[in-house]
Structure formats: structure tokens, C-alpha cells
């Protein structure tokens, strides 16, 4: 195993440019699962980002919040403004694994790992986050809902690293996050849902679901349904929009049917009385 241990982002980008097979490593909470059994992965090359101090910053600007790529769940839970401005970040952070994972796992690592069950990604997406990808040749910003191109696939090139995550500071008059796992802590998401409604916007709803498609996914059909005035009187009234947006499967953790049904119920009960057409 080769491991490169840069001290600056520039060094890290140089290394990435030279060696496209480098696997970036932040909190390592995904990589090291059952590590002794995964001997073939011991032969790969890794890029340890954990000491890039410049990436471990939470920056509040006048119109945005920027999380450096090494920001952990615990860091956000300790930030006094996060709870009032971006409450869903705290709600999701609190439900990631348990404190031992919250202290090491990073938001950017959660994005980069690309699991459809990623706990941190739905709320970031619901807050309209964008990701800065930095390489030797510069930086570009990608809206998070356009980041994934398929199951564990993304627009990130091998010479790029996620350097920051930025969310616009906006007024939301409604937001909700649900994580449905097999237990209250230390659970992998069976169905996740994050919904925000931006105050005084033309298209106010953002609905994001996870563990119901190949990627964490924004749900345009559900968003449109909420925006339209068509009445929703029961959970099943979400069914066709859900079918248009997501493709849940049966797997080791749950069933497609459960995922669809519960997503509808969570939408219905969360929005009942909030969205005027849901009663």
C-alpha cells in the first residue's frame, strides 16, 4: 500500500494530477470497514487529506455557509449558528452512526463516497448546496443535485478533489428531515427524506430522497405536485409522483414496497397542514 500524506491542498492536487488512481481519504469511516478482510484493497494507493488544515473550516459569509471538505458531522453540531440557520444539517448529523462516527466522518467524504444511502447528502441537497471541485488546473462549482451521474458515479474527475461545500443563506419557512433506519442509532438509512420550502420563491419546494434510487436524488415530480394545487388527501396520492422520481429496490435492508409506502406516508404526514394542498 502506498499512502501520500500532503500538507496543503496544492500538494494534494499535484499528487492527484500525477496519479489518477489515488483514492482520496478523509475520515476513513467507509474505507476501513472490514479492512482486514479486504486485502486486495491494501494494494492500492491512497491520498490522505486528513491534515489539510485549510479544509477544516466552517465559514459564514453574508449570503452563504461554506463547509471545508474536512468538516465533520460533529463540527457542524458544535456550530452555534448551524442549528438556527440550517437545522436539518444538525438533525442529520445527529443521526449519522453514533458519536464515534460523527467525530470522524466528513460531509465531503459522504458526498464523494457516493452511497445512495448517504446520510449527509439529502439535507445538503435540500439546502441547494454546491460542491467546489479543485484541481491543479483550477476550481469549478457544481450544484450538488447535478453531482451524481449514476450509482457511485459522479462528475468529479480523478484529478479533482472536493474542497468545499457551499449553501446559500436563505429564508426557509418549512424544513423537515426523516431518516428511517432499522434502529435509532448506528443505522444505515432505509429511506431518507429532506424537504425545504423557501420563503417567497417562485419554485419554493425542494424534496430530496435517499436509499430509493441509485443516487441520493432530488424529486422534481413530487416538487411539482406540491406546487400544483391538486389536492392530496392520503399518502397514496403521492404514489404516481414517487414512481416518477425514484426506483426503490429490495435489498438486504428493506423492500421496494416498504420504501415506496413509507416515503408516501412521511411526505403526507410531514406536509399535512404545511402544504395547502395536503389535507
Amino acid at each position: 500500500m502506498n499512502v501520500f500524506m500532503p500538507n496543503t491542498l496544492a500538494e494534494a492536487c499535484d499528487l492527484c494530477a500525477k496519479q489518477p488512481d489515488l483514492i482520496p481519504l478523509a475520515g476513513a469511516t467507509d474505507l476501513l470497514v472490514h479492512w482486514p478482510l479486504r486485502q486486495s484493497e491494501h494494494d492500492k494507493s491512497y491520498l490522505d487529506l486528513s491534515k489539510l488544515r485549510e479544509l477544516r473550516k466552517i465559514t459564514w459569509a453574508a449570503d452563504s455557509l461554506t463547509l471545508g471538505a474536512l468538516t465533520t458531522y460533529w463540527d457542524v453540531l458544535q456550530d452555534s449558528r448551524a442549528k438556527s440557520e440550517f437545522p436539518l444539517l444538525c438533525e442529520s448529523a445527529r443521526q449519522v452512526g453514533a458519536i464515534q462516527i460523527q467525530s470522524r466522518g466528513t460531509w465531503a467524504g459522504n458526498i464523494a463516497n457516493g452511497s445512495p444511502a448517504a446520510d449527509g447528502v439529502p439535507v445538503l441537497m435540500a439546502y441547494d448546496a454546491s460542491v467546489t471541485l479543485t484541481s491543479k488546473s483550477g476550481a469549478r462549482s457544481v450544484p450538488l443535485h447535478e453531482y451524481y451521474t449514476g450509482y457511485r458515479k459522479s462528475v468529479r474527475r480523478t484529478d479533482e478533489l472536493i474542497s468545499t461545500i457551499t449553501m446559500p443563506l436563505r429564508k426557509y419557512d418549512f424544513s423537515v428531515f426523516h431518516k428511517v433506519g432499522a434502529r435509532r442509532a448506528q443505522a444505515i438509512t432505509k429511506i431518507g427524506l429532506a424537504v425545504t420550502r423557501e420563503a417567497s420563491a417562485a419554485a419554493p419546494w425542494r424534496v430530496v430522497a435517499n436509499s430509493v434510487a441509485a443516487t441520493v436524488k432530488r424529486c422534481p415530480a413530487i416538487e411539482q405536485l406540491l406546487q400544483s394545487a391538486s389536492p392530496i388527501r392520503k399518502p397514496d396520492d403521492f404514489s404516481s409522483a414517487i414512481a416518477a422520481d425514484v426506483t426503490p429496490i429490495d435489498d438486504i435492508r428493506s423492500t421496494a414496497d416498504y420504501r415506496r409506502t413509507v416515503l408516501a406516508r412521511l411526505l403526507y404526514h410531514s406536509l399535512n397542514g404545511v402544504c395547502p394542498s395536503v389535507t
Binding site: M1, N2, V3, M5, L25, A28, T29, L31, L32, V33, H34, W35, P36, L37, H42, Y46, D48, S50, K51, W74, R94, G97, A98, I99, Q100, I101, S103, R104, R184, A185, Q186
Partner: protein, 168 residues
């Protein structure tokens, strides 16, 4: 297959990386194999086997250690990542302080116990976290199969000095 076993030399793949960190208040500077997990470094290289391996997947918390003042699973940490860090293990907690946990029945088989005690001790040292988290939520990263958790929670309450929850 062969009838006679020919011993081979130990494959020492170590010494590829040299790292320095602070362990239980003392600086250590050691060569490690880059594939080594912190848990293995502690248990097999530094002969501190108090941290246990229950699952190797970051679920059970039996390997909980404190890194830069936060609990973490040593089975999920490549040792090279703790360079420059302060690492505290169960071995840094004196047995003499653990009487309240003992009296409440916080340990039975003992396999999860060191991890439980490390997390509990961290909660005790940062009891302000209890303003926004329940003890049961904070302890949820430490799976125990013997106690049903009451002994642990009662013990931690006693240890912190909080009056017990009023349950008979």
C-alpha cells in the same frame, strides 16, 4: 498438500511509515505498516490490548478511543492518520475511578466494556453535552449484549454524580 510444514521468516512489512503521536500523555514515535489500523497498532504493536475488536466495522464501539478529545472507533482509523494527534485509550483511565460503574453492574462479560468506559468517561468529562443529548443517545455507539444497558446508564449517572433516574 504438503506433509511437512517449513517455517518461513516473518513477513515484516512494517517500517514503511514512521509516525509520531501522543498516547496517553506520552509521545511515541514508531514505524508502522501503512495498512495498519489504529486498533492493531495499539493492541499488537504497542501492547495495549484494552481496546477490543468486536466487529471491525465501526458498529460495536468496543474499540472506542479518544482522538483529539473526541470518541472514535480505532478499527476505522488508519494509524497514519493519528500523526500529531493526542490519543487516549482505556489504559489512561484508572481502575480506582470506576467504582460507581462497578456498583451499578455496568460490566458483565467485559468485552464491550473498555469501549463503554472510554465513551462514558468522555461524557463525564464533557457533561455539557448532556444539555442537548440523552445519555442513551450518546452511548448508542457502544453495543452491549449482556447488560441491556441499564447497568451502564445507571453507572454513568452515578459516576457523573447525577441523582439516579428514580427507577426501582
Amino acid at each position: 498438500m504438503q506433509e511437512h510444514f517449513i517455517p518461513s521468516p516473518i513477513h515484516d512489512r512494517s517500517a514503511a511509515v514512521s509516525i509520531r503521536f501522543n498516547l496517553n500523555g506520552r509521545d511515541v514515535d514508531i514505524p508502522i505498516d501503512p495498512t495498519e489500523r489504529l486498533l492493531d497498532t495499539l493492541r499488537y504493536r504497542l501492547k495495549l490490548p484494552g481496546s477490543k475488536e468486536g466487529c471491525g466495522e465501526g458498529e460495536c464501539g468496543a474499540c472506542t478511543v479518544i482522538i483529539d478529545d473526541l470518541p472514535a472507533n480505532a478499527c476505522l482509523i488508519p494509524t497514519f492518520q493519528v500523526r500529531g494527534c493526542k490519543v487516549r485509550t482505556i489504559e489512561s483511565i484508572p481502575a480506582s475511578s470506576l467504582q460507581p460503574m462497578l456498583e451499578a453492574g455496568a460490566t458483565q462479560c467485559g468485552a464491550c466494556t473498555p469501549g463503554v468506559v472510554v465513551t462514558a468517561n468522555w461524557i463525564k468529562e464533557h457533561s455539557d453535552v448532556l444539555a442537548s443529548n440523552t445519555m442513551r443517545a450518546l452511548m448508542a455507539g457502544n453495543l452491549c449484549r449482556c447488560t441491556g444497558y441499564d447497568g451502564i446508564i445507571d453507572g454513568l449517572e452515578k459516576w457523573i454524580g447525577k441523582p439516579p433516574g428514580g427507577r426501582s
